[in-house]
Symmetry: C2
Subunit: 428 residues, 2 copies
């Protein structure tokens, strides 16, 4: 059993466990139905709703939330550890977080005392807004930022500087970067994905609460629509440019592709084997300008048709692009600056990423434009893979319509053993 197992287990309703039976048959039925079949997500994919009661194990060889079929909703949080936290304190936090995540992902309250508390006169352990809700495909994925290993002053707070993965470092500056510190970096991160936003928010809120005095949220991001499929059973969703996104993404069914491109292996530092690296980029889309472009221009920028998502070299969505194909006048059918060309593994020496990003809308800016875009997340066995892709995108025709405003990298340790905690191999 691994944390990224594609087959969800039986759904467990928090309500069922609390024995609160009067709140309506509909909720009970949902709890009792269990997660049958595939967790395909709900909502933006229009794919039905088996995902609602899907549950994924927290413990396993790999952390869940990476190759797990991408759920529809995200709450991502980066944390700053307290300056008074020491090695034992950090281990304690990771242990507490692991125990809580193991329960939350099974649709349970954060602890046994739950939202009703062990006593009338104690604050409840669980904040309660998910009492009636099933696991909803929740996965919780933890990561360690570069500054956890050595802080800005070069201090090795936790005695782990020597075990820092060689490739774990802030990204270089890329063309078009307009990074804001308030959406960048972090000592720790938690990615909570679920088919129900209330379940994802509940997870981040309760894990943040557990961290009180030890770590606090530096920045966080809600995402409402997944922009990639990570399973061949999922349809390809659309990003806020209105195009299908992530057609050529790595899929969990491609086991050798995932092994080759996602999981850290024998060439990495020992404690990271079975782990991976997470890159997060907050990419603001200048959607009003984009919306004013003719469709032909939009398609030229992407390199695919807007409706079908087929490469402009012909075929259907899953036809491989033919970058050599030319039109009547000898012009390349897929523009030399098209996003699909520059980002394609064929033009990157085979480099691939597992993308797992989300659409976001953070209200609007002072000019009345929607503050919207893509919260890009990718997983890869080496951050160099992302750097190669982003470097190749320097001449991307899409660059005119996007602005990278946040950036962070994290080492994602292997999955926790059920008698251990996430990241235990780092401290072993």
């Amino acid at each position: 059993m691994t944390g990224d197992d594609a087959t969800p287990g039986r759904g467990v309703s928090r309500r069922g466990l609390l024995g609160l039976v009067s709140a309506g048959a509909a909720g009970l039925a949902a709890g009792a139905a269990g997660g049958v079949g595939f967790a395909t997500g709900m909502g933006s994919t229009g794919e039905g709703t088996a995902g609602s009661t899907a549950t994924y194990p927290f413990y396993g060889d790999h952390q869940a939330g990476i190759t797990t079929p991408a759920q529809d909703r995200l709450h991502f949080a980066a944390f700053t550890v307290s300056s008074t936290l020491d090695r034992e304190g950090l281990i304690g936090l990771l242990s507490d977080w692991s125990a809580a995540a193991a329960r939350l992902t099974q649709g349970l309250d954060v602890s046994e005392t739950g939202a009703l508390g062990g006593s009338d006169v104690a604050p409840p352990d669980d904040t309660g807004e998910a009492i009636d809700l099933p696991a909803s495909g929740l996965t919780i994925t933890f990561g360690f930022g570069p500054t956890l290993f050595e802080d800005a002053d070069g201090v090795d707070r936790f005695g782990i500087a020597a075990r820092r993965p060689p490739g774990l470092a802030r990204l270089p500056r890329f063309a078009g970067d307009a990074l804001r510190p308030e959406w960048s970096d972090g000592d720790l991160c938690i990615q909570a994905c679920s088919d129900d936003p209330q379940v994802a928010v509940h997870a981040i809120r309760n894990l943040s609460r557990i961290a009180f005095g030890r770590a606090s949220i530096a920045w966080s991001q809600l995402g409402f629509g997944r922009t990639s499929s990570t399973s061949t059973a999922q349809t390809t969703p659309r990003n806020l440019f209105g195009f299908k996104d992530g057609t050529a993404n790595l899929k969990l069914e491609d086991r050798s592709g995932v092994d080759d491109h996602v999981w850290a292996g024998a060439d990495d530092i020992a404690w990271m084997r079975g782990g991976t690296y997470l890159v997060a980029r907050k990419i603001r889309m200048v959607i009003e300008v984009w919306d004013r472009q003719q469709r032909q221009e939009q398609e030229r920028v992407i390199g695919r048709s807007k409706g079908e998502g087929a490469p402009l070299s012909g075929g259907t969505e899953f036809t491989e692009p033919d970058f050599a194909a030319t039109g009547a006048a000898g012009e390349p059918l897929i523009d030399t600056a098209a996003h699909v060309r520059l980002a394609h593994p064929e033009n990157l020496g085979g480099v691939r990423l597992l993308r797992r990003g989300y659409n976001y809308v953070d209200g609007n800016d002072a000019l009345g434009s929607l503050d919207a875009g893509l919260f890009f997340i990718s997983f890869q066995r080496s951050i160099d893979q992302f750097t190669a892709v982003q470097t190749a995108l320097a001449g991307d025709a899409m660059a005119e319509y996007v602005k990278h405003v946040g950036s962070a990298v994290f080492a994602v340790p292997p999955g926790a053993r059920d008698d251990g905690y996430v990241g235990a191999s780092l401290f072993a």
Copy 2:
């Protein structure tokens, strides 16, 4: 046929209309399945997903999105009209918005030329991110703010000052108000509710785009979990205090209650008959402090049990609270400052509201606290009803844990006729 009809029609997939058949059988099946039964919403209610393909008519006696069974997701936007807009321009905008809303709510693109455009060299009319998605229970509700009738300088820009509803005015200042102008007021508003956030965002984005040069977004709010039921077929959801919210809400099945408390009648200005008034309040919850209270204190503040949602005077969730009931020591079982007591119609001379709010999380503040709370929306035949409730809540025990940071009121005209536009009676 009325716009608030509780029975959804057959779902229509945008993809089906575009004839894009290769994008996966799952999506097509969802499109073809249609909205059977009741639109109970998805996700946070754990109630299954018939809502995914539910459709509600835009045209009708009343606007949809008021007594429509509350969908799970919200995108609300307040607009400022351009200083150059005149009466004909405003009518033109409302006409364009109505035509677009009639299509969007049926799961269609915003216009016939859609996301692929009428021509290769024209910008597409539709932004495209909902191409593959069904109607998802989308409703679009329009409102007119006090400043539409007379601007801050007292100018009657649109020749409608004399037709301003007598009760349409900014709310008085209440105890605990900490209102911020960037989340308050507006000349116009649009409430888009759907079971899929991407569909709600798509609606606001495209309606905002249609308004270009005529009106622009002043502020906007996403909500991820409904906090009220508006139908007896829905289970009661939980707010971010972890409590069931809106148990005693007006429900669409209570036709006489809705008629008495929601729809503007013969006592109002003629053009508003069949309309209603919308009050929006952005209520930040101080959730970290709340979470540190013992359950007994939380329950005292609310006046209900946390698990079941039963009044502290006894019974189950839907038992009427007994405010006279006392304990062994003669103390009232429901505290004199409990929220449920102060807000109850029994203590307000029978005043009731139809509540239709949403939980929100807007990231976090600089201290690492979640910037979270309730985006309260209520509908009532007179704004005085809200004022009475909020005035009574001055001594609310909950006041310690909430801060009202945004406020707006809008006249919501009756539904549009299918040969007219929303608000036509105002200009007739």
